[in-house]
């Protein structure tokens, strides 16, 4: 039997506000533990929350960018459970009246050649918890000798985005998550870094026989700390579930933990341990009534979103859909591209060098485009030198590594290594003649109709010029001399 997976995502995104969600403590990252705190975010007796308007604005922005309806009336609830990283032992969150709901995101599956739509169930706002450090044991709370708690993150605005179960294969989930990241980046409301934990993914996944409409029993996967682990974790979990179903076993509704090193998921907790959060409207906060005019104002000031940018790249720069999708996958890459083009380099050639050569170096080094030594100026210069015939594409490839490594401009590397292309016809003609002289056999073969012999002769010219000869010129001169 053929099976298909049903995948839905829950994404938590920490917002980039100056102050926390319900108090005026700063949200600075990486400070000494328990220094970015005040009586409110420490849950001192008698303190009260006050809503951060900026966080509401950023969530509304996100909701709009995800094509959601914005709730003119919404509310904060208390989600009650005990945990030492929560100062109040309840989290102020949203329940049945989230700020935004009913949206969608279109995801281009470029390699696969189709576009899929992922529904957005809701976008809501809550406060982040503190951080626990367990000393002793295996770094987990069970068995720890003691635990320390840092409340610097407690109360930082946290946006939760929940999707419909609209994805069917792991790569769709990955592509969606990347698209979502690009959208949020373009809004500038979060730095959406998986590494820093400002973007966190939880995945729900079930399997069912193809053609069946009913959902299978789902599991939730936690600890997916990169797009790669999202794809790998899902692939593993889908395989595990299909094998279990085929073996006649029942899938248990549970939360599973992804282990990046073993490449497996394992049971974290089963449904019996599910909390009863006893949600109820937070009586310390009055319901929010948003002014439609304010939402109108936010709508009119939304920046260009990845979809629009992608369309513009295709129209303005004449790029194929494939290029435009890859370049606009992150804001940094799209910005990089436009800057390189603005320096006068050919639009299509800049794209080629970015999505082939630069991308493979970044991949190999596991770097983001804004983390490497290569800048738009490097790529623009490189492309312009090729287009002007100053260097060949081959030379450009040869020096890319040094450029990536050292950040030296291509013109400098070319000059240092004496790699400027020979385009002087008489200079090349002399070498061509010498090569013809030294290879009578090949000359004969060519004249006898063996086309590949010409390639050998070209190669000899290139060898003698250390690859600097203009290949088009070499071809032209060889053909002339041999005819």
């Amino acid at each position: 039997m053929e099976y298909e997976a049903v995948i839905g995502l829950e994404i938590h995104v920490e917002l980039l506000t100056e102050s926390k969600m319900f108090c005026d403590s700063t949200t600075r990252f990486g400070e000494e533990p328990n220094t970015q705190v005040c009586p409110v975010c420490l849950g001192m007796p008698g303190t009260l929350p006050v809503i951060n308007k900026k966080a509401i604005e950023q969530t509304v922005k996100t909701g709009l960018a995800l094509n959601c309806d914005i709730a003119l009336f919404s509310q904060f609830h208390r989600k009650n459970y005990f945990y030492p990283d929560m100062p109040k032992n309840y989290q102020i969150s949203q329940y049945d009246l989230p700020l935004a709901s009913g949206g969608y995101v279109e995801v281009e599956m470029e390699e696969e050649g189709y576009t899929t739509t992922v529904g957005i169930t809701r976008v809501h706002l809550e406060e982040d918890t503190g951080k626990l450090v367990h000393v002793g044991g295996a770094g987990r709370i069970a068995g720890a000798e003691y635990s320390l708690v840092d409340f610097n993150r407690a109360g930082v605005p946290l946006m939760e985005i929940v999707t419909e179960p609209d994805m069917r294969i792991p790569v769709e989930a990955k592509a969606f998550a990347q698209k979502l990241r690009a959208i949020i980046q373009s809004l500038g409301v979060s730095d959406v870094s998986m590494e820093k934990g400002s973007m966190r993914l939880d995945v729900n996944c079930s399997v069912r026989p193809k053609g069946v409409e009913e959902f299978g029993v789902k599991t939730e996967i936690k600890n997916l700390n990169s797009f790669r682990s999202l794809e790998r974790g899902l692939a593993y979990e889908i395989k595990r579930q299909i094998e279990a179903v085929e073996a006649g076993e029942e899938i248990v509704q549970e939360t599973r933990h992804w282990d990046e090193t073993t490449g497996r998921t394992s049971t974290l907790r089963t449904k019996e341990y599910a909390h009863d959060y006893r949600y109820f409207p937070d009586p310390d906060l009055v319901p929010m009534e948003l002014d439609p005019a304010w939402i109108e104002e936010i709508t009119s000031t939304l920046p260009e979103l990845p979809d629009e940018r992608r369309r513009r790249f295709m129209e303005e720069y004449g790029l194929p859909s494939h290029d435009a999708t890859l370049l606009t996958a992150t804001k940094a890459s799209a910005d990089f591209y436009e800057e390189a083009v603005s320096l006068g380099a050919n639009a299509k050639n800049v794209s080629n060098w970015m999505i082939v050569e630069l991308a493979s170096y970044l991949n190999a080094e596991n770097l983001e485009i804004d983390e490497c030594a290569v800048t738009p100026r490097h790529i623009a210069e490189l492309v312009k030198m090729i287009d002007a015939g100053t260097i060949s594409g081959k030379i450009a490839k040869d020096i890319f590594g040094e450029m990536f490594e050292t950040g030296k401009l291509p013109s400098i590397i070319v000059e240092e290594r004496g790699l400027i292309q020979i385009s002087d016809e008489s200079e090349i003609a002399a070498i061509v003649e010498a090569v013809i002289e030294e290879n009578p056999k090949s000359v004969e073969d060519y004249r006898g109709g063996k086309q590949q012999a010409l390639g050998f002769l070209v190669g000899q010219v290139m060898r003698l010029t250390k690859g600097r000869a203009n290949p088009a010129l070499v071809n032209k001169l060889l053909k002339e001399k041999l005819s």
Partner: protein
């Protein structure tokens, strides 16, 4: 000259006229505390030195010819449920026995900013849960009129302190009658303002949607003076209202002739003690003499108010009190692991009534019960509020006995929580609607004070103060406890 038994208004005049210093007043009050405290136990913490220092600061201002406000230099007692920086704030609970806050509640800050002299923090029912102050985690407080009887509660310490002259006035908090009922039982004036009129920031929450801070004073004039000092929008409290408060002292002088008051027939069907009923009927006659028309009215849903209150208040409390877990402040009883520490700490730290209400509230919010309990109670709450609104269309205010009985014997109702809950039957509905209510002495029954409650519409403080003042002047109640 005894000073402790005088009013704010009288002492202010003497201060301004330099007939007496704040230090003299403060010493006189502290002397009185020494004389009676052993019998009354109204205070949990005395701040003698800080009080004298504050008094001297005011005296220096007066000496320098500076103008002082009406509360400057006047000794005040603060219910130990309000956060006071550097002064331990216990909420009369073992769990906070050694908790010293790092910040001061807005209401207290306002008074201190006006030069108030804080004498100490007063006893109460633990976390304001109770009607007799017997639920204090430390000791009961005795009624100055009869030390074998309770002072009422939960603000029993504040009421007793004012009645006995251990403070010129006091602050309390009222969630279901916790100011008005002890004021009635101790023969002083006590007022619960409109919900949102006085900031709750720093008031350790019992039931956030019902709690309100208010004054205990010896007479209505003082009540108007203190109220004026307390009110005002606080950006730190999202439920505090933007409202330009009127001049309450001026409102006292308005003519009450032609005012109309309603007496809910449902209230008179309750088990009101004959002595209390008699005083109340005389009060109605007195109002008639003043030209105030008193008629029967109806609050059809008021019979359900108590039930709704005992769902809503414990539900909010169960969440509000979750923060007392031994992790950050207060009592910690080390257990085997985290959960065990939580349980041991809370088992040792909370008293029976608090535990009872946490259990009630947790149950009411549980999955599957929420709608039947909390949801239903909120609907009742709306209906009760509408009943009042309806009545206020015909009447300027509603009057009733404050409590169905006079002060009862210590221990009399401890074993029967339901009987204790009935003590607040006339005050609880007012909190559900968020309306202002005042209790003013209306004579004695068997030598014990009876209180008259006057309830006004939202922001009707001026109306009820006006009526209470006229009533107080006409009645001429001058009795003081013999202690």
């Amino acid at each position: 000259m005894t000073l402790y038994n005088q009013t704010i208004a009288e002492l202010h005049k003497k201060l301004v006229a330099r007939e007496v210093s704040s230090e003299e007043i403060t010493r006189d009050v502290l002397e009185r505390v020494k004389d009676v405290e052993q019998e009354l136990k109204a205070y949990l913490t005395l701040t003698e030195e800080a009080a004298l220092a504050a008094a001297r600061t005011v005296d220096a201002k007066i000496a320098a010819g500076e103008k002082i406000g009406p509360l400057a230099g006047i000794p005040v007692a603060v219910k130990d449920v309000m956060s006071t920086k550097g002064v331990r704030t216990t909420c009369a609970s073992k769990i906070l026995e050694n908790y010293v806050p790092v910040y001061t509640a807005t209401a207290v800050k306002k008074l201190l900013g006006d030069g108030a002299v804080m004498i100490g923090k007063t006893n109460m029912d633990e976390f304001a849960m109770g009607s007799s102050t017997e639920n204090s985690g430390f000791n009961p407080t005795m009624n100055p009129w009869d030390i074998e009887r309770v002072p009422g509660g939960s603000s029993g310490g504040s009421a007793a302190a004012v009645a006995a002259g251990e403070a010129i006035y006091a602050l309390g908090s009222d969630t279901g009658g916790s100011i008005r009922q002890p004021a009635a039982l101790c023969g002083v004036v006590g007022m619960k303002p409109t919900y949102g009129l006085v900031s709750r920031y720093g008031l350790v929450a019992f039931a956030s949607s019902l709690d309100q801070i208010g004054p205990f004073t010896k007479d209505v004039t003082d009540c108007a003076i203190v109220l004026k000092a307390l009110v005002g929008h606080d950006p730190a409290d999202s439920t505090s209202l933007e409202y330009e408060a009127e001049e309450y002292v001026e409102a006292l002088q308005r003519d009450v002739k032609g005012m109309r008051f309603g007496v809910p027939k449902e209230f008179m069907e309750e088990g009101v003690e004959p002595g209390v009923k008699q005083r109340f009927e005389e009060a109605i006659e007195l109002f008639a003499k003043l030209g105030v028309e008193v008629d029967e009215t109806t609050l059809p849903h008021v019979d359900y108010a108590l039930s709704a209150y005992y769902i809503i208040a414990p539900a909010e409390a169960s969440s509000n009190l979750a923060r007392f877990d031994g992790v950050r402040y207060g009592l910690r009883v080390e257990g085997e692991d985290m959960i065990d520490t939580y349980m041991k700490t809370r088992a040792a730290g909370f008293g029976d009534e608090v535990k009872r209400r946490i259990m009630l509230g947790t149950y009411a919010l549980s999955a599957g019960y929420y709608e039947a309990y909390y949801g239903q109670a909120q609907k009742v709450r709306t209906l009760v509020a509408q009943d009042f609104e309806e009545a206020f269309k015909k009447f300027d205010g509603i009057i009733s006995p404050t409590s169905p009985t006079v002060a009862f014997k210590i221990g009399e109702k401890v074993a029967d929580p339901l009987a204790m809950y009935l003590s607040d039957i006339f005050t609880i509905p007012v909190n559900l609607g968020g309306f202002p209510g005042i209790s003013v002495p209306c004579g004695l029954s068997d030598g014990l004070p009876v209180g008259l409650q006057i309830i006004g519409p939202t922001f009707g403080e001026g109306i009820i103060l006006n009526a209470a003042y006229a009533f107080e002047q006409a009645l001429g109640f001058k009795e003081r406890p013999s202690l």
